[in-house]
């Protein structure tokens, strides 16, 4: 299973879920797998995608929020797992595209290449539904079966990105908010 395979599978099952992608290859693959208004692509803030997803999940408990994170990115912000374990948002799914390397920067190994176990870390932080999957069948089953906040560590092969999303950050944000029913003007009424 390549990262693009996994991303295509997730987008195909996502329905009207909101999807937040970490910078670099996860964001490129989300765009390649299917650009949609409910996609939010980050181009910076490495490590923060999962936190953005948590905030959105807390703001909108009736929307399923999927985060496409990376192993290197999540390792920058492992504390976010403790915060998710504390908040227990049932509508949040973190998919860690674990290629065991910093692929966007040239393929340097991350600690997961040497056994660091991100699903175990999530369980230790009180995210009970945290698993590692190694095939599309396992990924599909995990997405369907798990309840509560979920961390799915998808062991993926690196695949060269084939497309990149827009650099119009404000445009991406406005399209995303409008798709969720939060056009900016609606929250700018005088207090």
């Amino acid at each position: 299973m390549t990262r693009l395979d996994a991303t295509r599978l997730i987008v195909g099952l996502a329905g009207d879920a909101a999807i937040i992608a970490s910078l670099g290859h996860p964001a490129y693959d989300l765009f390649a797998a299917g650009d949609r208004p409910r996609n939010f692509y980050t181009w910076g803030s490495m490590g923060v995608a999962t936190s953005i997803g948590l905030g959105l999940a807390l703001a909108r408990p009736n929307i399923l929020v999927i985060v496409l994170d990376g192993d290197g990115s999540l390792l920058m912000n492992l504390g976010s797992l403790a915060t998710i374990g504390l908040q227990q948002p049932a509508n949040l799914v973190i998919v860690v595209m674990d290629n065991e390397q910093y692929a966007t920067t040239g393929g340097q190994e991350t600690p997961t290449a040497h056994g660091a176990d991100l699903a175990a870390a999530a369980r230790a932080m009180r995210i009970a539904s945290a698993v590692t999957v190694r095939s599309e069948a396992e990924l599909t089953a995990a997405l369907a079966a798990l309840q509560g906040p979920r961390v799915i560590v998808a062991k993926v092969e690196e695949s060269a990105p084939v497309a990149k999303p827009s650099l119009d950050y404000v445009g991406v944000k406005q399209r995303f908010m409008a798709a969720l029913g939060n056009a900016q003007s609606s929250i700018l009424n005088p207090p």
């Binding site: 939010f40 910076g44 936190s51 912000n77 915060t83 207090p191």
Partner: protein
Amino acid sequence: MSPVFQPSTLSPAWATGICAGVRATGSRDVVYVPDNPLSHVLRVFESDYRDVRLILATREEEAFGIAAGLYLGGRTPTVMCQSSGIGNSLNAITSLLVPYQIPVLVVVSWRGDDVGEWNAAQRPMGQAIRSMFDAIGVAHATIASADAALETVRRMGETAFRTHTLGACLLPRALTTRATAAATPSAS
């Protein structure tokens, strides 16, 4: 702009003013990493503003990420942290909140300004924080007195949420230590 609930009379006036100001902006979500003065603010929120959701973060950069997600979901978020924590947050601020024009009201418990700081670990960031905010285009104002707290926070929230920027209110120790009469140095 009077608060719906009667503020607790035991709380310092600057803390009740900050809470009333946050609420007057329409913000109902406060993401925070605690420090000593902010503990008073948190207590007022907990006792007098039950409709304000308090969200603990493990690190300040995470708090700004959570706030960004709250905003994308239609909320008007506030982040509260110590000035030292702004240093932990610069990448999220400059590579997420600023380029995507995601507004957040920020209440910064400000250590390390000129008066009375005894901890050399706090002075460099405390001295630099206003210049840093200027350098990255973050609006900021100092809460000059307990009486000014509500209006400073409320108006900064207006600037933040109407112009899609970060708006930071600096809460100096000169104000909080006088009000709380802290007799002994505290690490945090």
